[in-house]
């Protein structure tokens, strides 16, 4: 049974939310979620690439010869990633400096290629748009949530719109390891655990 557009969109937000359910795209998930801002910035950049590449792949799906489809997908994705990179440099330079190498690495993010291959190359334009948007927003939310937890416990501060907000007050001793690499793994593990517990009921 074909899913409705709404279902295509909402599945990305919970049932197939990328880092937690599909456990895909972990490289940026672990690396850039030191703060909420970084996480959401990275998520939005990925969403843009995902939506644009899904639309283009879907509209070209009858033209692209099956044998070179991956090469075609990569060209399309790489183009949009470079667009994002240039636009970020022009308008949000400080964020660009923080995300650094992870912006060009969206090209090899398996979520983007995965959606192009598994969904957009087989479905219509509107459905692909809904799919890309859903998965992208799901990815952004996941990165934002992970970033929030790590920043909150790692520093005791949440930075929103470049304004640091003290959450726990000055007597709070931050768990510095939360903003280091091990904290990313532990935090992701715990969140996966919570998601699975909620799903298994």
């Amino acid at each position: 049974m074909a899913k409705t557009l709404v279902q295509e969109f909402t599945k990305g937000l919970w049932d197939e939310i990328p880092p937690f359910r599909l456990v895909l795209g972990l490289c940026p998930v672990l690396a850039v979620t030191k703060t909420v801002e970084n996480g959401i910035g990275m998520g939005l950049a990925t969403t843009f690439v995902l939506v644009c590449s899904n639309i283009l792949v879907s509209s070209l799906r009858k033209v692209i010869p099956p044998k070179v489809r991956i090469a075609c997908f990569i060209i399309i994705i790489a183009t949009f990633v470079t667009v994002v990179e240039l636009v970020m440099q022009a308008f949000t330079y400080p964020l660009f400096l923080k995300l650094g190498i992870f912006i060009p690495l969206i090209v090899v993010n398996c979520i983007v290629l995965g959606r192009a291959e598994a969904f957009a190359s087989k479905n219509g334009i509107i459905a692909s748009l809904a799919d890309g948007l859903g998965i992208g927003i799901g990815f952004t939310l996941a990165l934002g949530a992970l970033g929030a937890v790590r920043e909150l416990f790692g520093t005791g501060i949440l930075t929103i719109w470049e304004k640091p907000i003290q959450i726990f007050g000055p007597s709070f001793q931050p768990f510095t390891f939360m903003i280091e690499a091990p904290g990313a793994f532990i935090c992701l593990g715990l969140m996966l655990c919570v998601m699975n517990m909620m799903g298994s009921k």
């Binding site: 070179v68 075609c72 060209i75 183009t79 240039l86 636009v87 022009a90 330079y93």
Partner: protein, 197 residues
């Protein structure tokens, strides 16, 4: 065979389209990216050097062709007169080129401030040339026309302790800045007239 041709054609068209799009976007964002880079990478050094100027030195900038290279100059307006310029020069450090932003008062040719912009020096050792404000402050008030050397080479600049090579790189950059300044001074003075308010 037909399939073969189709593959080639599709890939070629895609690449052409992609190349064209990227070229267009790059053209459209180039100026803004340059401004952003100046603001966030060199901005802090420029602002510190031209402190107290009544204009925005990053907006009021001009370029002069020096042989093959195009150099950017940042204008500082003091007391209604465009009397200072800041520009960057490079010297060889321990881990590559060190960028030094030098501000010069064009009326008496004295340095009004200097600051390291970009470097690849060892963190915590050579990097102190950038973070220790006392080091770059030694250039203040000296004449840009001097040759700068660290004290171990019978010069006038105290090296950052443990980072003689880095410090030498900075003095070379400062000396280089003097050469650029002497060479381009007439053009700088000419351009500055436009900024006087």
């Amino acid at each position: 065979m037909r399939e073969m041709i189709k593959m080639v054609v599709v890939l070629t068209l895609l690449c052409t389209f992609s190349g064209g799009l990227l070229a267009a976007i790059r053209g459209g964002t180039k100026e803004r990216i340059e401004y952003q880079q100046l603001k966030f990478v060199k901005g802090p050094a420029i602002k510190a050097i031209l402190e107290g100027s009544s204009n925005d030195p990053i907006v009021d900038r001009f370029k002069i062709k020096d042989g093959e290279i195009e150099r950017s100059f940042f204008v500082g307006v003091f007391d209604g007169k465009a009397s200072a310029v800041a520009f960057e020069s490079f010297g060889k450090g321990f881990g590559g080129d060190i960028g030094l932003m030098v501000g010069v008062n064009i009326e008496d040719d004295n340095i009004i401030g200097a600051g390291v912009t970009t470097h690849n020096e060892t963190p915590g050792v050579g990097s102190r040339a950038k973070t220790d404000p006392g080091f770059a402050a030694q250039f203040k008030g000296l004449s840009i026309k001097d040759t700068f050397k660290v004290k171990t080479d019978d010069g006038q600049i105290d090296a950052v302790s443990g980072a003689t090579i880095t410090s030498r790189g900075v003095t070379v950059a400062a000396t280089e800045a003097g050469k650029i300044y002497k060479k381009l001074k007439p053009q700088i003075a000419e351009k500055l007239k436009k900024f006087a308010k």
